[in-house]
Subunit: 216 residues, 8 copies
């Protein structure tokens, strides 16, 4: 069986670092891929890596950096963000959404983009969100992560005029288990101009923000 | 085939007027049932009656009163509500929810309970809801109707301490068509102590409020 | 990443103890949060804590109390309920529903409210429920937990006039696995005025009962 | 395109009258089929025929008999049932289930089997069912039809020892629209030994009863 | 919390041994229940017991008998079946359905009813089923278990006139994972008079057969 | 808004006549498209055209031929099939599947391929299928259409070695309404090497057969 | 019942024209709302208006303009777009998606934004899309509409670096009926940085594009 | 309980090696079955065998060969493929699909058919697929495996005229978890003549290809 064919022209075509989805790959596959990135002098990013798999990769490639909260690996130096306020704000309904927030933040860092994080601004205690509105003014794009009923992006999209990317998070139980209720709530939102990515897709939200930031 | 067996002891057992669900019944069936209520000297309430069916019933029983917004029929005099502020507030996300609001309001009227209606207080324009909060203080129970993503009851339940009954409404399209997204969003709510009834079930929300008002 | 932002004003606004959902949090996160509750002199309640996680928290904070059946932790003294018959009855279809019953009972205890438990009153042996009806008369609110087809709250709501909160339970297999059949059966109930919360949401049912008890 | 190939040996093999499902057939197709039954000297039964289609068939074949409640057509004489109490009881939760009850009753009549109908014995008014229990003692098989949450067969199966066939009915709205909630509730039933047929499948329930009656 | 309330009158009312569903109960709960059966001199049957739980129960109650294939426990002597051919045939599409077949067989044995098992008669090799048809003639009731697309009961119901109980089995993958496709295929069957129970519900199928055998 | 961009190179690339899906197009759009086909001297095929729309198109373009059973329109002469036995057999479970069979047959005719139709060979009367097996020997590809539980292709694939394309048909009610049960049953089939197309997709099955016939 | 409460401050807060969702409103409600817009000197946009409802509104308010393809009404003059190439490209898989494309285009026009439309660039004839790539270079944001399997936005997002908003369209049949397959395909996309809105939500896609264009 | 009844006549009837689905069978059952194959001098293939189960089988039957990537076992010598280019091409969207590709490849090898594998030709980097088109010309049948949104077979079916079998793969997360989105996308494909098998069904795709290759 032939080996993985990396899309190393992606940076040229889309301006994006090639990211590798680690969930269904073995540690051996990931090591081979990272070595190839390294040979091509490309920054490598691997998402959805379990702690056990991360340990196995680090044992083979000590230059790899593991990001525990984000469940990601990187190989190569992350570019320093330019000075100035962070262009992306990442909001989150509860501290259970932490790994999705971390994945989005790291994926943006791989492209030299800084993030302003606002955790625990869920709509069940609305004042926590309303108190932070002024802080959002300098953000160019907002990424709003929420599980359960997923109402945070809806409320946000009624309050501020910037682009908002909703990220449903798979925290919840019963009817909301797996994040589908949050996803459908965001898609059904009565607030105008909210866009959505797949459940837990912090990386995808980051890449969508990257596309939007190019417009500046 | 034997005729419908009315549960005329319901008032005695549950303190509720017997209501008849008109959707799958013919005009002839409804007429027979209303005549029986009348003979038993009971107030009769029929829900989910199409305009055509309502006309057919009124032609046969001119004493029946049709309530167009609520899509209901009543036969017999509604009890006058006692003086004082209405004990139930009914909130609605958009004017498309009107028929559900009307059904709940009428069902409470059949039991002598007045309603304070707050329409168009959807969460996409949050100030419209926040402006009305003081008005809600005198309500004993709140019924919150919403379609689309159904976030209104969630936001409300984070703001006020009274019992809140969420009523998902079947307005929406695409993913939210039929009201299921609103229903699941309310059940998944991150706000504590919100309870929910079936989609478009204005009558059920009213009866739940009636049960709660008994506690006073 | 900034820390969890507790909603310590919740007691003031809603009259509810702040509860923390432990399922997606690490033991470390739970410990930090409980320490903060303690510092604010607030009673702390953590729900959905696995036995392993509970052990880790107790090792760090010996003052924490673990409630095994309810899968919860508390820190601080529970208020003593006032004398008199318990205002809330909690009914359950089978002994497999025990942990949901225990969560609801504990959440009410955190607010000084006593519970009368009626276990194993499922509808497949109807006499077990009918025998207990007189005992329900003094209850102000009823919480009815059921898995499988979830018919208990429906039968109950046809028999007694008090508010009834249906809690679907995720016991079942095949078509009823995960509790969705019980949930939908309760929402579709032909009995008037039944309200429902999310699957296994004992805490939510307790908070709904708390809101209703305020009306007295 | 070749014509419909009737399974005229069905009576010999299974002891059942060949029934034709009329829903997706044109009046012309139904007429052709009935003529062929007639030529073969077989009793013909066509189910799920709309009033308009029935009229078109009757205009061409005046010997056909239309059964309005059951939405069926028959051609040929129905066998007279033997004397004695009806071996099958058909129960129904509400008068909206009438057409399913009528289809089951007619299908049994085509095989010379009489039916004892018990309408409006839904579980929201339990006494209506409990009052009728003695009447059920002589039934060999029970067919229980219910829409909404579909709890009737579950309650019944806990009370009597005979075979019970649950028929979910497509009356309901919101979550219970189309009968799926009733179906799943019956399958998930906590009562032992209940079997189920497809939604609205009165004919299928009758044929299942016929198979069971053969055992005598 | 009060203890499990056994329905020991079930044998009197329904003629069935009380069975306990072991899946969501602890070994301790099962031990307590079996002791109570024993004290009441009743045969005890516990279904859905994992091997680990079975070992724990046997360690405490050595008189208990574990049935590994059926994943069940019994306490007390099983009644001997009367002489003559087994009145129930249990058919199965593939050897992966073994545990469901075993559960049905054991549940019938608890009531003194013998079973004729026909394994591996799936419809992908139709001759295996057609070859066995004569053997089925003496069966009074047939239980047909099948996973995947679940076509076995449909084909069977077109061939023989006895009552057939379809049991969908949760073997399958992709679209058929969990048994839902088999269940829906059986409910949708074009063969007349097939009835169905919940996925993997061998016990329920046995109790349905028991109800039907009473008719003789 | 620019006009429809026809893919007139499709015949060159794929060897297929360009077909137009008529369901969501107006009569005006269809007329414009057919005129363009005509101008390019290409055979035109429009599928899923309602009788009303067909009439409107024929009024404008009398050279168009309407195929009522197939709900299709063609413009231009269909190629004559070569002599010899038809290479494709189309089987159908019941006469309600007629329009899907007709669409597949017409789409093959547009490519000069003849069809051998076998209607009413559903598995509830298995002998009707077994009787026809010898006739199937000369077919190169089989298309098997079935609604309800959709077991026909499964049984067939266990009996004959040729390629079999399963076409689920949207006839059915209750659980099988819309054809999804038939679809899932075919995908879950225990018979090896069955492939499936979308519900009611007679055209797609024909094009799949066309691809397979090229191999000869 | 109080009247609809328009959110006339929306333009100030979000820079968006207030749009009214016409689907569940009567012509009378729409007329009242448009009169209020007019009185406030605001441009009015009503979406999802059936032809019959549009006629009724135009009869009462002749100044209203009906947009047939977009199924929308406007009252007031649309702002002229600035000179230069259109900043938004709207792509569509097939001409059946026309009304969604038209709704998005009109909603952008209401804000003075011009659109470059590319119809019929579906992925089944890939060259039609590849041929148009150079034309896309000047677009700042791309809106890609597709029904069926919805692959167009995925392919596009692998080819160009701008922000792409996927709009699933409710054209399709069988498994893809209602647009859910297209929606889920877009959310599951393997191409990085694609965002999605609700099915048929041309208006929402336009408002999302508007938010993104602000960044320039 | 009687033993598994192998369908050893399958080779004669269908020209296929009998394959055993190992997922729900114990190592003991697999050993017994393989011994029987061996006794009948038939090549044995067992699919979906976990590494642990494979080890247990190999310990008992050292002649068995384990295929780790394909998760399969074989007993007996695989036939050598005839000379010439491989008649089947197997394409895959990403290296996470490896085990499905390997299962299809092995199943074809068991019948002496060689495979040309094209890995990592997913549509997010379209040039990787377009570059390989010439290589596909000699393939008689194409098997296209894809997870996530599953667009690969759709794009392929618009480019080449051969038969294409789509195999949805259960890699994905959130909305695409379990492969259902890929499956539905393939069924809904706008490209003509694509056929589909169950999720992860590499074996089934191979058997479908085998049926098609017979036509040559």
């Amino acid at each position: 069986m032939i080996d993985a064919r990396l899309d190393l022209k992606r940076r040229e075509r889309l301006g994006m670092v090639e990211a590798v989805w680690g969930e269904h790959k073995t540690a051996e596959q990931i090591i081979t891929i990272l070595e190839r990135f390294s040979a091509a002098d490309e920054l490598g990013l691997v998402t959805r890596v379990s702690p056990e798999k991360a340990d196995a990769v680090l044992a083979a490639l000590p230059a790899v950096k593991a990001h525990a909260h984000a469940r990601c690996l990187t190989l190569g130096e992350l570019p320093a963000p330019p000075p100035g306020p962070p262009p992306v704000a990442v909001l989150s309904g509860g501290s259970s959404d932490r790994s999705v927030v971390a994945e989005a933040t790291l994926a943006l860092s791989c492209h030299g983009i800084a993030v302003d994080p606002l955790m625990d601004v869920g709509v069940a205690g609305l004042h926590r969100l309303l108190d932070q509105l002024p802080r959002l003014e300098s953000a160019v794009v907002l990424i709003a992560c929420a599980g359960m009923e997923g109402a945070l992006p809806t409320v946000l999209a009624g309050l501020v005029p910037q682009p908002i990317i909703g990220v449903p998070v798979s925290v919840g139980y019963g009817i909301s288990q797996g994040g589908r209720t949050a996803l459908e709530g965001m898609l059904a939102s009565c607030a105008p101009g909210l866009t959505v990515v797949n459940i837990d897709n912090g990386y995808g939200a980051a890449m969508a923000a990257l596309r939007m930031l190019r417009n500046r």
